[in-house]
Point group: C2
Chain length 249, copies 2
């Protein structure tokens, strides 16, 4: 691990070059400017920021607020270090894209080998929600018999597909949070595709979500579709437990 406080340009240059070639994780706190050119064009005037170069060549430039980086480059990027008269410049190139960070004052630089082979174990995605409905069709309505999940069509894939009590085809589009206009047009697209492909007319559409925006609900109704309030699995699990505990009093 190399960790330098207020390094000279020469020291920082060496640490950077060595760290990049060794696939270290490199963190720099510095006063800098940044220019980006590629999918758009941008310039960020002088300020204190955090720069993070990952072993996979990803580079992130973070300002002191917000969860998104202000500038970045994803993997497969080539970094190079240059010197101006007074400063150090970090150029990162990838295809037609280029990020150029000019370091004007380096507060600290750290370069070190990090070990991590784990991946995130996650639950509660939209797919989990579809699975929950598939296994508990009563969440939609009595008599609903789902027969497929993630059904592929050229116009997108259907979350849950089945028959209702009267034998109509029934398409469920799940949203784990608020259903919006996009969710309704998505459902509409699937219903029309299935009607056309199977040459049938009795195809119903349902949006399953914890809530739906007023305009989306209106459009849903205009198109003869329905809404079912369904909470995604694991959503605010702790909060719900607490709430039901309170409800018992």
């Amino acid at each position: 691990m190399e960790l330098l406080k207020q390094p000279s340009i020469e020291e920082a240059e060496e640490v950077l070059n060595r760290g990049i070639s060794k696939k270290h994780a490199i963190i720099i706190s510095a006063k800098c400017t940044a220019r980006y050119s590629g999918r758009a064009e941008s310039f960020l005037p002088t300020g204190d920021r955090i720069i993070f170069i990952k072993p996979d060549t990803t580079i992130l430039l973070h300002q002191i607020s917000g969860s998104q980086p202000v500038n970045w480059m994803p993997g497969e990027t080539i970094h190079s270090i240059h010197r101006t008269e007074k400063n150090l410049v970090l150029n990162s190139v990838r295809g037609g894209e280029k990020l150029s960070i000019e370091l004007q004052q380096i507060h600290f630089i750290n370069s070190m080998k990090l070990e991590d082979t784990e991946i995130l174990q996650s639950q509660g995605s939209e797919k989990d929600m579809a699975e929950m409905i598939y296994k508990n069709p009563l969440l939609i309505e009595k008599g609903f018999k789902p027969f497929s999940m993630e059904e592929q069509t050229k116009y997108g894939f259907i979350d849950v597909f089945g028959n209702d009590a009267k034998g109509n085809l029934l398409i469920i589009e799940c949203k784990r949070y608020n259903a919006d206009l996009g969710a309704v047009t998505q459902l509409r697209r699937y219903v029309e595709k299935i009607k056309k492909d199977k040459g049938v007319e009795n195809v119903r559409g349902i949006i399953a979500a914890p809530k739906i925006s007023p305009n989306a609900h209106k459009m849903l109704h205009d198109w003869g579709f329905d809404f079912r309030k369904v909470d995604p699995p694991k959503f605010f699990e702790e909060k719900k437990k607490k709430q039901s505990k309170l409800d018992n009093f």
Copy 2:
């Protein structure tokens, strides 16, 4: 600035508490585990990671690859430090969400005041593209007369709105990259809304984008809409210059 290499639990706890209360930017490199509960549930087993706590209370946990954090909490989060028998635990709570990071070995911790009042100056967004078309209607077709931009409707806002040479209403939906099925359904929504609101039938729709997916193009055609190849401004500016330079030979 406080910068400690391999700090003891006690030292790290002090730096963390002091840094959070002083609204410092805090960076930790550590072996850790992470649990998240809220909009989903997740667990991340032991590994070396980078933790970044911003002055606005945003917290990011980054693994050594990928441009996205593996766990995070946006602003308005309350952080607190606790001790287990052997380790330090950083709890971050916001509404019904909770992120808990257990620090098992701290490689370094840095806490410092950062100064930054600048915001990114950016060009080449979809709005810039709409503006370009508004000013150069020939990019769409001869006789196109745009009369409004960002027109608000309850079902979304229209990028560019105008009349064609024959006096039909013409709605343009811009996409700065590949137009997909969503872009077509979006356009369709606007056209239907305008037809209904104005009680007219002669409303045309056009997607302006550098390219469009085959399925989207088919759906566009099925609905009687058109596609115009338009490159967004500033997109790969450097690359294009180079290309046109090559073309001259």
